[in-house]
């Protein structure tokens, strides 16, 4: 299939449901996967790798059972499968120190505070997925209608066959 995947890591089922549902708009083009803890997230990463679906965006809660989201992001940054993925912390609880850690060590791209609004979430997801596909994917046309179209088209200029 080779669909770019959005991975949501969130331990509370209700919050996870809400997050995944708010991402429905992207489901037409992207694969959306949810994981309930760090271990499960790593399993999803493996499954995606096996299906050759690259992970484009990771939305991660901070207070995960047994591990902090910031630490998980640091770990994922060091894996080749998830290194290029854009990383967003979705949390109500990460302190300044943890956030700085994630920014410095995990290339954290963004920080969404809970509770989020759908518009804000979509803006963030759209922006970072656009960044990701421009950097990592050759053919940008499938993403024009869902993501930032003008930016993708500008980037596509140099890539399409020259006719």
């Amino acid at each position: 299939m080779n669909r770019v995947t959005i991975l949501c890591v969130e331990d509370e089922p209700e919050v996870r449901d809400a997050l995944v549902r708010d991402l429905d708009a992207f489901a037409a083009v992207f694969r959306i996967e949810a994981a309930e803890d760090a271990e499960d997230a790593l399993t999803v990463v493996q499954e995606c790798a096996a299906a050759r679906d690259p992970i484009g965006l990771i939305l991660c809660d901070h207070m995960l059972p047994g591990k902090l989201g910031a630490d998980l992001l640091v770990e994922l940054k060091d894996k080749p499968e998830t290194a290029p993925a854009r990383k967003v912390l979705v949390t109500g609880q990460a302190g300044l120190e943890d956030t700085i850690k994630a920014v410095n060590n995990a290339d954290l791209d963004h920080y969404i505070a809970k509770p989020w609004t759908r518009e804000a979430l979509h803006d963030v997801v759209r922006k970072y997925l656009t960044d990701y596909v421009i950097d990592e994917i050759d053919d940008l046309l499938p993403y024009v209608s869902l993501l930032d179209g003008p930016r993708l088209l500008e980037a596509q200029k140099d890539r399409s066959p020259h006719e």
């Binding site: 299939m1 089922p13 209700e14 996870r16 449901d17 809400a18 549902r21 489901a27 694969r31 959306i32 996967e33 949810a34 994981a35 309930e36 499960d40 399993t43 999803v44 499954e47 207070m63 059972p65 047994g66 902090l68 609880q93 302190g95 120190e97 943890d98």
Partner: protein, 669 residues
């Protein structure tokens, strides 16, 4: 030790001091004076200096000047100068003692052996040091390397040249002649008192010069000012003179009465500017004496030289003594200051600690009030949310009966409401199975969203229908299942808000009166119930003994269990075995032990687990739980009980012992 290219100049200056700062300053100041014209070497010890001399000697470099501190590790400064004097290649080297702690014996030792040309006190002035160096270098070159005088003339005192050149030979002869008389008279003077020596000197001068005119100065007048060129000496006939010196913009009185009767001789002898300011403290009578006149007097009566030298040495000795005394006083004062500073620091630390404690306890009190208020305010909206979710559910059920395929839609909604939520891993597994069945991953994803999770459910929902018809039904099922899911999430979450509110209220119930006859097991069970949602993988082993009912604040004690269990579960990562044991060690006490098989607390941390802000949870701060074991200890102590922690890998035990009859009644709430 510098190893600059010495060949360039052929002459070197050596500075010796054990104190790195002083050495650096000395070297810097000397360097400032002579510039690149001469190599300045710095040595930290006499041994080093001697080794350096070897080295320089082989390189054909002469040491023109050495400045050394007296107090050195190993060989002392004076001994170093003596050693220099012994060596043929450094015999001519001009030798200076730069020192704070000089002692007459040492000084005379060096002086007598001809191994001391000057002394410089610490702190020195750049100017004074420069003058000294200039004058010594001049004499060095004039006497031992006259051919080089031209080359170094900007370092030398040209005024000294002609006379020095002219008189060098004559002086040598005269000196040889004098030395004999001088030594003799000096030795003869040893038994005389200071006064006798001074009187003899005064009388001798009077006699030699024929009653020279005396000067009278009122009290407060200044005879010599620090830094001014000294070309005259004064013999104090009557009255008192005070010696002071200005350093760091402050005038310090150094010698009162101790100045001796001959004023300015030292400066004059060294052809330096006045080191002290001489101020009359009473009306004085002095006998001014220019150098020429002094010289004339000495010529007339060579014995005078002996008196002069004796007087000089005694003056210096008196001053040295005074200096040493001052130094000891300064050291004493410093010690006192240090003590006071340490004391102040201790007091400051104490203040900071108690302030932190105060802030912490105020924070706790404010937190208590705040959370009680918040808890109360949250109750109403939460209750309304929970009821509204139930109402929507009932009404939807009724409405669905009227719709086509209503039973299927109702089932889809019900399944969302009742079904045990699956782990994300299980969800993916089921989706994969469905995907294999329908051959389309996107469709499988939609099926899962519609609550259809197994092939059987798929068949019962859609039978053999496919294509558009299936899609339309799937679309509706999806919506109703999601609706059910949202309703359930509203219910679950509002229940959690209520649980949080409850735990907040019990936490703030601190000021209620003690309740007698409390069964601790009830509180423990209630606490475990609160954690049941997060502890599916934890096995609880309860060994309850027979406990008498005890008198306590039930809310506070429950808070203790909550905190301990919460900590334990966190340490176990919500996985493993949690043991709860209760017994009554004696008739007046009950004991509760909560034991987890988590990784354990390192011994070095064990002492700190009851400290405020210590947590092994990496900043995890659940509201009401974050203060953790600190609160537990406060509560237990408040009840007159004890709490202890013991830990080894896979066994951490928190033991709480409570009295059956608490002392709460007596100390109030």
């Amino acid at each position: 030790m510098s190893s600059d290219d010495n060949k360039a100049t052929g002459y070197a200056i050596i500075c010796v001091d054990a104190e790195p700062d002083a050495l650096a300053a000395l070297r810097h100041d000397v360097g400032e004076f002579c510039g690149p014209r001469m190599d300045v070497h710095a040595c930290a010890s006499a041994e080093q200096a001697l080794a350096l001399v070897e080295e320089l000697a082989t390189a054909g470099i002469r040491v023109a000047l050495i400045l050394t501190e007296q107090i050195l590790p190993g060989i002392s400064g004076v001994d170093l100068l003596l050693a220099f004097r012994e060596r043929p290649e450094t015999r001519a080297t001009r030798k200076v003692l730069v020192s704070t702690g000089m002692d007459v014996l040492d000084l005379s030792r060096a002086l007598n052996a001809g191994a001391l040309h000057r002394t410089i006190g610490k702190p020195w002035t750049c100017e004074g040091l420069g003058d000294c160096a200039r004058s010594l270098l001049t004499s060095f070159f004039v006497h031992h390397a006259p051919h080089e005088c031209d080359r170094f003339k900007d370092l030398l005192d040209a005024n000294q040249f002609p006379r020095a050149f002219a008189t060098a030979r004559h002086q040598q002869r005269a000196a040889n002649l004098h030395i004999k008389t001088l030594t003799q008279s000096f030795l003869a003077n040893m038994d005389m008192s200071d006064e006798e020596v001074e009187n003899a000197l005064g009388a001798g001068i009077d006699e030699a010069l024929g009653e020279p005119p005396q000067q009278h100065h009122p009290a407060g007048s200044i005879l010599l000012r620090q830094g001014e060129p000294a070309d005259t000496i004064y013999v104090l006939v009557s009255g008192n003179v005070q010696l002071s010196r200005t350093a760091h913009g402050r005038e310090v009185v150094l010698h009162e009465h101790a100045g001796g009767r001959i004023i300015g001789l030292l400066s004059l002898a060294r052809r330096q500017r006045a080191f002290y300011t001489w101020r009359a403290t009473t009306d004085i009578t002095v006998l001014p004496l220019s150098l020429e006149r002094l010289e004339a007097a000495l010529q007339t009566n060579p014995v005078l030289s002996g008196y002069l030298v004796t007087s000089l040495i005694r003056t210096m000795a008196a001053r040295s003594k005074r200096t040493a005394k001052l130094l000891v006083e300064v050291e004493d004062l410093n010690g006192k200051l240090r003590g006071e500073r340490d004391q102040l620091a201790n007091i400051l630390q104490l203040l900071e600690d108690s302030q932190a404690q105060l802030v912490e306890s105020q924070k706790m009190a404010t937190l208590g009030q705040l959370s009680a208020g918040v808890a109360h305010e949250l109750n109403n909206p939460t209750a309304a949310i929970q009821r509204a979710a139930d109402f929507i559910r009932e009404d939807l059920g009724t409405l669905l009966e009227e719709l086509p395929d209503g039973d299927k839609l109702a089932a889809a909604m019900r399944s969302a409401l009742t079904r045990e939520p699956l782990s994300t891993a299980e969800q993916r597994k089921r989706r994969a199975a469905l995907s294999r069945l329908v051959g389309d991953d996107a469709l499988a994803q939609r099926l899962v969203k519609a609550g259809i999770q197994t092939p059987e459910e798929y068949r019962s929902s859609f039978g053999r229908s496919s294509g558009k018809k299936r899609d339309r039904l799937l679309d509706r099922l999806e919506r109703y299942h999601q609706l059910g899911l949202s309703l359930r999430n509203i219910s679950t979450c509002s229940k959690r808000v209520i649980a949080i509110v409850d735990s907040l209220r019990s936490y703030t119930r601190a000021d209620e009166t003690p309740v007698a006859d409390v069964n601790l097991h009830e509180g423990l069970e209630g606490t475990l119930l609160m954690f049941s949602h997060a502890t599916r993988e934890v096995e609880f082993v309860k060994e309850y003994g027979d406990l008498p009912p005890i008198e306590c604040h039930v809310g506070e004690i429950n808070q203790v269990w909550t905190n301990i269990v919460s900590n334990a579960l966190q340490a176990m990562h919500n996985k493993g075995i949690l043991r709860i044991e209760t017994d009554a060690p004696d008739a007046d006490h009950v004991r509760v032990r909560i034991i987890d098989n988590g990784p354990g607390i390192p011994p070095e941390d064990l002492d700190r687990v009851f400290d405020l802000n210590f947590t092994t949870k990496q900043g995890h701060a659940n509201f009401g739980l974050g203060m953790g074991l600190t609160i537990c200890r406060q509560i237990v102590a408040h009840h007159g009980g004890t709490i202890e922690a013991a830990s080894q890998p896979s066994r951490t035990c928190l033991t709480v012992v409570l009295p059956v009859r608490s002392q709460l009644g007596s100390n109030g709430g």
